[in-house]
Amino acid sequence: MKKKSLFKILVFTSAVLLTACGYGLKEVYTGIPYNSTNFEANYYNVWDKAINHNSGDNNITETKKEIELDYEKDSVFTRLENEDYENDYKHFQAVEPSWDNYHYTYDKEAPEEGLAYGPAVALKNIDNSFKYGVKSKLFDGQMFCNGDYQQSRTQVGPSNIGKYNGFGIQFSKECTDSSYFMCNFKCSVVTDKSQDIGKFNTDLKIKLGFYLKNSEGYTYIPVTYVIEKVPTNSGDDHFMPPFSGRLTSYVCFGFKLNDTYLNLSRLAGFSFEYELIDVYKPDTHKTFDPGEDTMFHSIMLYEVSLPHSTWH
């Protein structure tokens, strides 16, 4: 009988040990990363192996032809807070049914009427799985700096300069339905010798990767779009309450998903990369020359969302 009892305890303990898969420990880190005064240390350059299209050792079974977004056809918008971009706002209205109710410039503080756009469309409020890990910074509804600096943004490096080439993350769930994509960012450029080199504009080519689950692995769909005149090293002085001006230093980039060539059903991974085309002075258009110093350019990505999407 004693042997039997011992056997039962052993079986129970083994069963518990077998369940111990450390599912919640995948995103654990020691200390506080990406929160350093050293600019270079804050680049988020993590690629989940299965969807790393830059490496041969991945689980991508099919790569679709790169989709270059068309401004009109895909209802692209890159600015929501600039009078010069009225068409952008029309595109936003076309993809977002509740556009009239949303206030783009609010995220932490709720507007008196209507809803703050960021928190309203944040993925963390759609599915709990987006609440965990360093990447949760991208899905938490915080669209702007708000004085939280590295704690709220994800710093992404260009793919054609330096060694920090974007990031790629897998989702624990699959998207079943979505209508448009949105992300909010601004740009920054510094050198290894100075972090205060003045304001610039950046021309860049965004490259988004959507990874759809298939029976054997992933189907990779690259999507690109060139954005010009992105304010770089622009402060957030317009943003700090009371709101005195428009948020022209941020880019809200989005587009309509197309059922024919860009259907994100079974989306289970996402990557963000960009190519730096030019960094130049806004007035003289003179390209920035770091001289003998090393230049560090980055996109400060605050929010990524598939508003009103469903996941399972």
Binding site: T19, Y29, T30, G31, I32, K124, K131, K135, S136, F139
Partner: protein
């Protein structure tokens, strides 16, 4: 024609069964759903009253009132305390209303159940520990799915990002729990309270002989093994106080209940422990004050490295000191203590102390805390009387002692009023389901001695009849 009187007491067995179901339900904790507990226990108390009111005697009620009245005053002061409205993460007005309701009707349920003749408390213990065991098993498996064995030691300094921000405590101080109908991250200290209380069932193994009752023995053994495994796999310095208190309280209880001849040294030991705890509280209280006449004591403590560590510089005493200081320096001895998390009070954010003894000062004020201690004194006195004079089986009496003393002792050193990691919700001891069950069990011991004698006689008669049949 005479009308036949309807005898509600015939339904006593049905209500007793309902009582078991309610306590099985409570065993799952249900995410501190106080309104649900309160409503269930109110309904139960009313039904129990209907089936037992003929057996209730005035003397019994008067004796019981000595326990119930201070508990009710404690509950009332807790409900009226500005702590309810001033604190961040407050339990809210609706829950506060249910503090006196829940504690009153829990107590009454226990008292009325004692008057049901056929009520078998052994079954109640199997239900309470069974539900707790299942709850612990679920929590244990969930936590192991998310983490790995011994993770509090491995990940003691590792954090996780949640909603874009680093977690407020390292992974090693958290665990996963079935919280209501959701799986949520809770503090490891709070999580471990349930396996610790489950382990108090160890006392049954000292009374039940394996050969006599294999099933019951193995059931309690399984509870103890499950509790112990949960505690071992999540061992941490944050749960150590609770573990030590479990061992100490159960060790002393077993000695006290089992050693019948030379109890004197145990009694003396207990009295010494209580005196030491009392002296500690008095010194801690004086040391926390800023009155000029205590400066001598304060200096003496500060100048001695050991005393300084005990009364000033350790993690736990710092929180206790703020509570003790606030008590008299803000004149809020009736429970209007706003120092927990307050915009106008003394501290910007004062965490609960981790002990119901000091947290009661915070949540219910000095008078509330004193009424509570007085009620416990009356309750424990009655429990001893019940142990000595009741004719019930020793194992049931020992289990009652183990559950009540174990829960109170463990929560006195390791209670976590803020169980949720990503929310500031505060749940003082009166919202903790094992504590509610404790109130029920203490009230049960107020069952009339006459009925116990009758029970004994009835039992003796049954035994006689069985013998006769056997012959």
């Amino acid at each position: 024609m005479t009308k036949k009187k309807f005898d509600f007491s015939t339904y006593a067995t049905v209500v007793a069964f309902l009582c078991l179901e309610v306590f099985a339900f409570l065993g799952f904790s249900l995410g501190h759903n106080y309104i649900l507990y309160g409503s269930l226990l109110t309904a139960l108390a009313i039904l129990l009253f209907i089936v037992t009111f003929r057996q209730i005697k005035k003397d019994g009620i008067a004796t019981y009132a000595f326990f119930l009245f201070p508990i009710f005053v404690f509950a009332l002061l807790s409900a009226l305390s500005p702590f309810i409205k001033d604190s961040d993460g407050t339990i809210g007005f609706a829950n506060a209303t249910f503090i006196p309701i829940t504690l009153l009707f829990t107590g009454l349920s226990g008292f009325f159940v004692g008057h049901i003749k056929g009520f078998d408390i052994q079954k109640l213990f199997l239900v309470i520990y069974g539900a707790l065991g299942l709850f612990v098993l679920i929590n244990f498996i969930i936590t192991m799915v998310y983490y790995v064995p011994f993770y509090p030691l491995i990940y003691s300094n590792s954090y996780i990002f949640f909603e874009g921000k680093p977690s407020p405590v390292p992974v090693g101080q958290t665990a996963y729990m079935l919280y209501g109908f959701e799986i949520m991250e809770v503090s490891l200290t709070y999580w471990s309270l349930y396996p610790l209380i489950l382990c108090t069932s160890v006392i049954a193994l000292f009374y039940i002989k394996y050969k006599d009752n294999k099933k019951v023995f193995l059931t309690y053994l399984a509870f103890v093994i499950l509790g112990a495994l949960s505690l071992i796999f999540t061992i941490s310095k944050y749960t150590l106080f609770g573990d030590l208190m479990l061992i100490l309280s159960m060790g002393l209880l077993i000695l006290f209940l089992k050693v019948k001849k030379s109890r004197k040294p145990i009694k003396i030991g207990l009295i010494v422990l209580l005196i030491l705890a009392f002296i500690f509280t008095i010194i801690a209280f004086l040391n926390a004050q800023t009155w000029s006449w205590v400066s001598g004591i304060k200096n003496a403590i500060a100048n001695n490295s050991l005393f300084n560590r005990i009364f000033n510089t350790n993690y736990y005493i710092r929180k206790i000191n703020v509570i003790l200081w606030e008590l008299f320096n803000t004149g809020k001895i009736f429970g209007s203590f706003v120092g927990l998390i307050s915009s106008t009070g003394y501290g910007a954010y004062q965490e609960p102390s981790g002990s119901w003894i000091f947290d009661n000062l915070l949540t219910s004020g000095l008078f509330g805390a004193l009424f509570f201690i007085f009620a416990l004194y009356i309750g424990i006195k009655q429990m001893i009387k019940y142990y000595q004079k009741s004719g019930e089986k020793d194992v049931n009496k020992a289990l009652l002692f183990a559950y009540v003393i174990g829960t109170l002792a463990i929560t006195a050193v390791a209670y976590s009023s803020k169980p949720l990691i990503y929310a500031n919700n505060l749940y003082p001891i009166y919202m903790f389901t094992p504590f509610i069950i404790t109130m029920f069990l203490i009230s049960y011991t107020f069952k009339p001695l006459e009925s116990q004698k009758e029970e004994n006689n009835e039992q003796a008669e049954v035994n006689e009849n069985e013998k006769e049949i056997a012959i």
